[in-house]
C-alpha cells in the first residue's frame, strides 16, 4: 500500500481544521455587535493600563545563540531518531559513532555556553540605528 493512503485520515482532519477555523471566524463575525470603533477600543490591551511607550524594544544578541542551540539539538535529535526508530543491531562501531556524534555536539554546545558571557552583545545599538533611520526618513520627507 502506498504511504499517502495511510495518511488520508490526516488529510481529512486537516480539511476539517481549516473548515472549523473559517466557521468560527464567520460565526464570531455574525454574532458580535458591530459598534463604532474608537481609539480606546483599538488600542492594545495591557491589563487595563494605558500603554506606555512604543512596543519596539531591543533584544540582546544572546537570543539568536539560544535559537541556534535549539536548532543544533533539533538536528542531533533527528539523526538519533533515525537510529532509534530502526532495529539495527547495536554493534560496537555504531555505538561508538553515536557516542562520538553526541560528544562532538555536546562539546560544541558546552564550549559555546562557556564563551557566551564573553561574546554577549546587548542589542541596544539596533534600536538606535532604527530610530536614526526613522529620523532620517522623516527629514527626507519634509524636504
Amino acid at each position: 500500500m502506498r504511504l499517502f493512503v495511510d495518511f488520508i485520515p490526516v488529510v481529512v482532519w486537516a480539511l476539517l481544521a481549516v473548515v472549523l477555523v473559517i466557521v468560527m471566524l464567520l460565526a464570531s463575525w455574525v454574532l458580535r455587535p458591530h459598534v463604532l470603533q474608537n481609539s480606546s477600543k483599538t488600542s492594545p490591551y495591557e491589563c487595563g493600563e494605558d500603554p506606555i511607550g512604543p512596543a519596539r524594544i531591543s533584544y540582546p544578541y544572546n537570543y539568536i545563540v539560544y535559537t541556534i542551540l535549539f536548532v543544533v539539538i533539533d538536528v542531533m535529535g533527528a539523526f538519533l531518531w533515525l537510529l532509534s526508530a530502526s532495529t539495527l543491531r547495536l554493534e560496537a562501531l555504531i555505538l561508538w559513532q553515536a557516542l562520538i556524534f553526541i560528544a562532538l555536539i555536546m562539546g560544541a554546545i558546552s564550549f559555546s555556553m562557556r564563551i557566551l558571557p564573553q561574546a554577549a552583545l546587548d542589542g541596544k545599538e539596533t534600536l538606535e540605528l532604527y530610530h536614526e533611520a526613522k529620523k532620517a526618513q522623516k527629514t527626507k520627507h519634509m524636504h
Partner: protein, 206 residues
C-alpha cells in the same frame, strides 16, 4: 507494489496539485509579502507543505525531518533574526528593488522556469514506482542502515560542521565585542575589560 484503484489514483493527483499550488503560492508570498515577519511565517508554512510532498514520495523520515528542522528550526531562526533587527521589521524603511530590476528578474526567472519545466515534461522519464518499494518500517530501517552503518563518516562530518558553525558564530560575536571595547591590552580577540585592582595584584604575585 500492487496497482491502486482509480479513485485513489485520482486522489493522489488532486492531492499533488493542491500541495504544489499551495507551496508555490506560499513561496511567492514568502518572497513578496511587504511585511517581513509575515514573509518568515509564510516560509515556515511553505516548508511544512513540502513535507506533504515528501509523504506523497514515500519518504516518511524526510517529511518528519523537514517539519522538525525547516518548520521548527530554520523558520524560527529567521523569525528570531527579524526580531533582533528592528530596522528590518519596519516595512517603510525597507529598500525595495527598482521596478525595472524586479521586472527583469521576474521575466528571467519565468523564462528559466518555463524552459526547465518544459524540458522536464518533454523528457522521457520512467513513470512508474519500481516494484521493490519498501514499506514504512523497512524504509526507516534501510535509511538508518545507509546512514549509520555504511556511511557513518557522514554523520561525524555533520557533527563537525555543526561544531564549526557554533564555534564560528560565537567567535564572530566575540571578535565584534572585542572591537567595541575601549582598551585592548592583550592580543586581538581576548577579553579586554579593565580588571579590578585586587585581581591585578593577585596575578602579579602569581
Amino acid at each position: 507494489m500492487q496497482e491502486l484503484d482509480p479513485l485513489l489514483q485520482l486522489f493522489e493527483q488532486v492531492e499533488f496539485l493542491l500541495l504544489a499550488g499551495i507551496i508555490l503560492v506560499f513561496g511567492y508570498l514568502a518572497l513578496e509579502h511587504k511585511d517581513i515577519v509575515y514573509a518568515a511565517f509564510f516560509f515556515g508554512v511553505m516548508a511544512s507543505f513540502v513535507a506533504g510532498l515528501f509523504l506523497l514520495l514515500e519518504a516518511p523520515f524526510i517529511a518528519g525531518m523537514q517539519i522538525a528542522v525547516y518548520t521548527g528550526g530554520i523558520s524560527a531562526l529567521i523569525i528570531f533574526g527579524v526580531l533582533l533587527l528592528p530596522r528590518a521589521q519596519d516595512r517603510t524603511l525597507e529598500v525595495l528593488p527598482s521596478p525595472r530590476a524586479r521586472k527583469i528578474g521576474l521575466l528571467l526567472s519565468a523564462f528559466v522556469m518555463a524552459m526547465s519545466g518544459g524540458l522536464a515534461l518533454v523528457f522521457p522519464w520512467s513513470t512508474d514506482i519500481p516494484q521493490g518499494m519498501p514499506e514504512y518500517a523497512q524504509s526507516l530501517q534501510g535509511l538508518a542502515e545507509w546512514l549509520w552503518q555504511s556511511h557513518g563518516l557522514y554523520v561525524q562530518i555533520i557533527a563537525l560542521i555543526i561544531l564549526t558553525t557554533l564555534v564560528g558564530t560565537l567567535a564572530l560575536m566575540k571578535m565584534e565585542k572585542a572591537e567595541t571595547l575601549k582598551d585592548i591590552t592583550a592580543e586581538f580577540g581576548v577579553e579586554a575589560a579593565p580588571m579590578p585592582d585586587d585581581e591585578k595584584t593577585e596575578e602579579a604575585t602569581n
